[in-house]
């Protein structure tokens, strides 16, 4: 039941167990139609998220990454999302430098009851990633292959 037309992209969602994962569940229970590009990873808290999860996801071929957790002041562990907000905000400076469009990564807050909000977050983020298309991939092969590339071209004497 793909809502977005065309090729499905790979979007990874890192969701906290207590709010956003339950919020996504609420959206499912409510049978809201959502794009199917998102693959969800459930985590105990957004404070568990190492920004390297997101970097690694992009390097392993993700086209977009969405992080969602409890609203500030609503964290199950009191302060996990406050730390997460600082880390993810910092990460936003790194991604464009290594060639990941800033539009491919977003973080937001969705509570367990906000099924409708979850639907609109997923729909608009998926649309945003689709507008950017699939992420340019690293070439396959090793560094040596890349170094040798000019050398293997036929020489003209």
């Amino acid at each position: 039941m793909s809502v977005t037309e065309g090729k499905e992209l790979r979007i990874i969602g890192f969701l906290c167990n207590w709010c956003s994962y339950a919020g996504a569940d609420t959206a499912g229970v409510g049978r809201f139609a959502q794009p199917t590009d998102l693959r969800i990873v459930r985590l105990p808290c957004t404070g568990r998220i190492n920004p390297l999860f997101i970097v690694r996801a992009f390097m392993n071929g993700a086209d977009g990454v969405l992080v969602s957790g409890c609203h500030p002041r609503d964290c199950h562990y009191s302060e996990g999302n406050f730390y997460a907000r600082r880390r993810l905000e910092t990460l936003k400076a790194l991604l464009p430098v290594i060639g990941v469009d800033p539009g491919r990564f977003e973080y937001t807050w969705v509570s367990a009851s906000e099924g409708q909000r979850w639907r609109s977050v997923v729909a608009s983020f998926t649309e945003q990633v689709h507008a950017l298309g699939s992420m340019p991939r690293f070439m396959s092969g090793t560094s040596l292959d890349l170094c040798l590339r000019p050398a293997v071209q036929p020489r003209v004497f």
């Binding site: 880390r87 910092t90 400076a93 060639g99 560094s143």
Partner: protein, 320 residues
């Protein structure tokens, strides 16, 4: 600088009996960069050198000398690394004696070698305002600071004399150089996203994974417990692929986010001359904008990622 050197030697001679070791610079195998010197006897003090070739940040040796009384000779930028180590309680203030110096700029050995053609015959280097003079076999050769100095020297905040226990030379204003060379970050920002990815692909394909950047970094204190060597989680795999090498750089940058003082040791140590400080620069700029924080200024501050505010004034969250 000769008088500062004499002042420094006198201060070290005086302090040496109370110290286990003093770290300074001496003439090394390369005529364009001085090597570290670990002084334990007074006779070694005569071997100390002080000129723009003292590029290496010696602060990285301090955490390994914890528990010993160590003296360290430091330029203004090196003091910032020491501040960061103090802030993170990786060294003890009462065990460290800092000998500050009036630095006029530090030579980037790689670009200086390229500019000179060779490092042979270089006897002395002096910086006089707008030009850097190398005396090569008795003949002076002049270059602009942008050609031969380290990029960090353009934006030098000067010597933090407040923290130094001794200070040799004049506590004047930091050197001001015009026309900084274009940084890799600026070059990258002129590119589109795919070009940036290809840029790193090409650069990182030259990386030999020697981890000199990690060994040289004064803040890389995990050493044998580095995430790059961990198998569980397996952050970086063993394949010789630019993606994995860039992943390591991302790890290094994120692990030093809010801590990195841009001392430039990672780039200086890189045998392939890769622009590995670029990612750290980008993160630092963001941290300055969002958290109004610069690493290595005040030993009593908390790094921004170690704390939070309930209401973050500079973070604009997206409305959905």
């Amino acid at each position: 600088m000769a008088s500062s050197l004499d002042e420094l030697k006198t201060a070290i001679r005086k302090a040496l009996p109370g110290l286990d070791v003093v770290i300074a610079w001496t003439a090394g195998p390369d005529a364009l960069s001085h090597a570290p010197l670990f002084i334990t006897e007074e006779a070694d003090v005569a071997r100390i050198e002080w000129d723009p070739r003292c590029s290496q940040n010696l602060a990285g040796y301090l955490p390994g000398l914890r528990g010993k009384k160590a003296g360290i000779v430091a330029k203004g930028c090196d003091v910032r690394s020491i501040v960061e180590l103090l802030q993170e309680k990786l060294i003890d203030r009462e065990d460290v004696v800092i000998f500050g110096l009036d630095c006029q700029g530090a030579v980037d050995a790689r670009s200086a070698r390229a500019a000179l053609g060779s490092s042979r015959g270089v006897r002395d280097v002096a910086i006089d305002g707008a030009s850097v003079c190398f005396s090569v076999n008795g003949e002076p050769r002049f270059f602009s600071p942008g050609e031969v100095l380290q990029s960090k020297c353009f934006g030098c905040a000067g010597a933090d004399a407040g923290l130094c226990d001794h200070f040799a030379g004049e506590r004047g204003l930091p050197p001001q150089f015009g026309n900084p060379p274009e940084s890799t970050l600026e070059r990258l920002e002129a590119m589109d996203m795919e070009e940036r990815l290809r840029f790193w692909e090409t650069q990182m394909s030259r990386c030999i994974r020697c981890y000199a950047c990690r060994s040289a970094c004064p803040l890389c204190v995990c050493q044998d417990h580095c995430a790059a060597q961990s198998r569980e989680p397996h952050w970086v795999d063993q394949t010789d692929h630019p993606r994995e090498k860039l992943m390591f750089q991302a790890i290094h940058a994120l692990h030093t986010a809010g801590r990195c003082t841009e001392c430039g040791e990672c780039e200086r140590a890189c045998p392939m001359g890769l622009p590995v400080m670029t990612l750290k620069r980008a993160l630092n700029r963001r941290i300055k904008d969002v958290f109004d924080y610069q690493a290595g200024i005040d030993p009593n501050q908390t790094p921004p990622l170690f704390e939070f505010r309930e209401v973050e004034t500079n973070i604009k969250e997206r409305e959905w």
